[in-house]
């Protein structure tokens, strides 16, 4: 039982549904005149961002502020960290400042684990190296549920939905968290990528694997595109961006082969023209814009539950 959210594996199926249901309730906040709740008044949430990520940081900041928490932003550039202060010393400083929760994004896998050993408050992993990004998986699951099961689908998981995740799985924390969470929620997950971008041990993961994107498209309810970094080319993961795009890029022709109800997702930021064509990104199937709004509500739900004393896994199989 941990008072942190570090890996999607920390959440039982009931925990995940609870978070989605809570987010569903909080979503209506956006329609109210006062878009704020007093629940976390007097609590301090620190955003500890070692990697530049304005989008995620702002999302967490908005989530915490809408719950009336005080937010302190600590970014690595130009700070004591840039002068060589260790993660441990930074953690001790945050402790001294009385942080109730620390949201950490860091370039090293396991940084959130290490931080959790040094602070009293709750740790939310906002992305550690190539390990995990659990709130991304939560907002993705929330988006899928809303789009494919409707906004009233309280108590529902994602049973029977087929999700295909495409791209650089090997280096993707979004992929790891999504494989874990989606399968916990009952979805069938397939990874589509060239063999070089899949971990050798992927056979032990709760998902199927395919090297052929085209064969997966007609069966997919959701296609989730991962960002592919151009630098991977120099390490011989694939011969050229052109070939990658040709074999694994989601263009308009491939989008047309999706079932009518299917949606296209992307955690952002996108490489338009590489893994996803512009017209696909801008189509009605695309959830890319609403993923951002959903990010705030799911992060509000996560903050509320964690700072409200919940420890994951909190609920059993069927509670």
């Amino acid at each position: 039982m941990k008072r942190h959210l570090i890996s999607a594996a920390d959440l039982s199926r009931a925990d995940a549904v609870l978070i989605l249901d809570t987010a569903e309730e909080l979503a209506s906040l956006a329609d109210r005149p006062i878009k704020k709740l007093p629940t976390l008044r007097g609590r301090t949430v620190v955003n500890l961002f070692y990697e530049d990520s304005t989008r995620t940081r702002i999302s967490f900041e908005a989530a915490a502020k809408r719950l009336s928490a005080d937010v302190i932003n600590f970014s690595a550039k130009g700070s004591s960290v840039a002068k060589g202060e260790s993660l441990k010393d930074t953690a001790l400083t945050l402790e001294a400042m009385g942080a109730d929760a620390v949201v950490i994004r860091h370039g090293a896998s396991g940084a959130a684990h290490r931080l959790a050993g040094w602070v009293q408050g709750s740790v939310l992993n906002a992305g550690d190296g190539t390990h995990e990004h659990p709130t991304q998986a939560l907002l993705d699951a929330f988006t899928i549920r809303r789009r494919l099961k409707g906004t009233g689908a309280r108590g529902a998981a994602l049973d029977g939905l087929r999700v295909t995740i495409v791209g650089d799985v090997l280096h993707s924390r979004v992929a790891r968290s999504n494989v874990l969470l989606l399968s916990t929620l009952g979805a069938e997950v397939t990874l589509a990528a060239p063999p070089t971008l899949l971990p050798l041990a992927v056979g032990s993961w709760p998902c199927a694997v395919s090297y052929d994107l085209d064969s997966e498209l007609p069966k997919s309810d959701v296609v989730m595109m991962l960002r592919v970094q151009q630098e991977r080319m120099t390490a011989a993961y694939f011969p050229s961006v052109r070939e990658y795009s040709r074999r694994y890029g989601l263009d308009a022709a491939r989008m047309a082969r999706l079932p009518g109800h299917a949606i296209v997702m992307h955690p952002g930021p996108m490489n338009r023209g590489v893994e996803i064509a512009a017209e696909v990104a801008d189509s009605v199937r695309s959830t890319i814009v609403e993923q951002v709004a959903n990010g705030v509500t799911t992060r509000m739900a996560a903050l509320y539950l964690l700072l409200g004393g919940m420890e994951f896994p909190a609920t059993g199989v069927d509670q």
């Binding site: 976390l40 539950l305 919940m310």
Partner: protein, 191 residues
């Protein structure tokens, strides 16, 4: 409504209201609401989850029968406005369902099953505040068990039930529990 008129044995408790008594109390409250709001003009019933919600619906139905009036009815979850987050672990949220038209300028009648410390109602007033500006707010409860910790009082009460703080009041409603009844358990009360 069920025909039984004998006391209902609740969860190892003494029955204090049976189904018939509940029915009569709600009928009385419905009439009182109509009296004190000039015939239900501009009212909204908001039930506080969990059991305040079916009670609000039943009241709305009664009022509709008496006056052929369509009373807007909804639910107001107060979990996020409670003052005891640090004492109890975070709970799952209930549904907040605002009827169309909102609360601005309306007379909101909050509906709950039991009135005790008054903290739930205080949270409801806070939550209501963030939703808009009602003309007036009133409170209807099925049971008032005393022991207020805040200066809060109900406008409409189904039954006044003096209790000791060590006792527990259980309200059972068909929509939630499969039967109607109010029982009390604890020291000094034997079935």
């Amino acid at each position: 409504m069920c025909a039984a008129s004998s006391p209902v044995a609740g969860r190892d408790g003494l029955a204090v209201l049976d189904a018939e008594q509940i029915r009569r109390a709600l009928t009385r409250i419905a009439h009182e609401i109509l009296e004190r709001t000039h015939g239900g003009d501009g009212i909204i019933l908001l039930g506080i989850p969990t059991r305040g919600v079916p009670l609000a619906r039943r009241l709305a139905a009664r009022i509709g029968e008496f006056e052929r009036l369509d009373v807007p009815c909804g639910s107001l979850d107060v979990t996020m406005h409670r003052d005891d987050l640090r004492l109890h672990p975070a709970r799952a949220l209930g549904r907040t369902d605002m009827p169309p038209g909102g609360v601005d300028g309306k007379t909101v009648v909050l509906v709950d099953d039991v009135l005790y410390s008054g903290r739930t109602v205080r949270a409801a007033l806070d939550a209501l505040n963030d939703l808009g500006r009602p003309r007036a707010v009133q409170l209807a409860v099925l049971v008032d068990r005393g022991h207020r910790e805040l200066p809060i009082r109900a406008d409409y009460v189904g039954k006044n039930l003096p209790t000791s703080p060590r006792e527990v009041v259980h309200v059972l409603l068909t929509e939630v529990d499969g039967q109607d009844g109010v029982t009390i358990s604890g020291e000094g009360r034997r079935p």
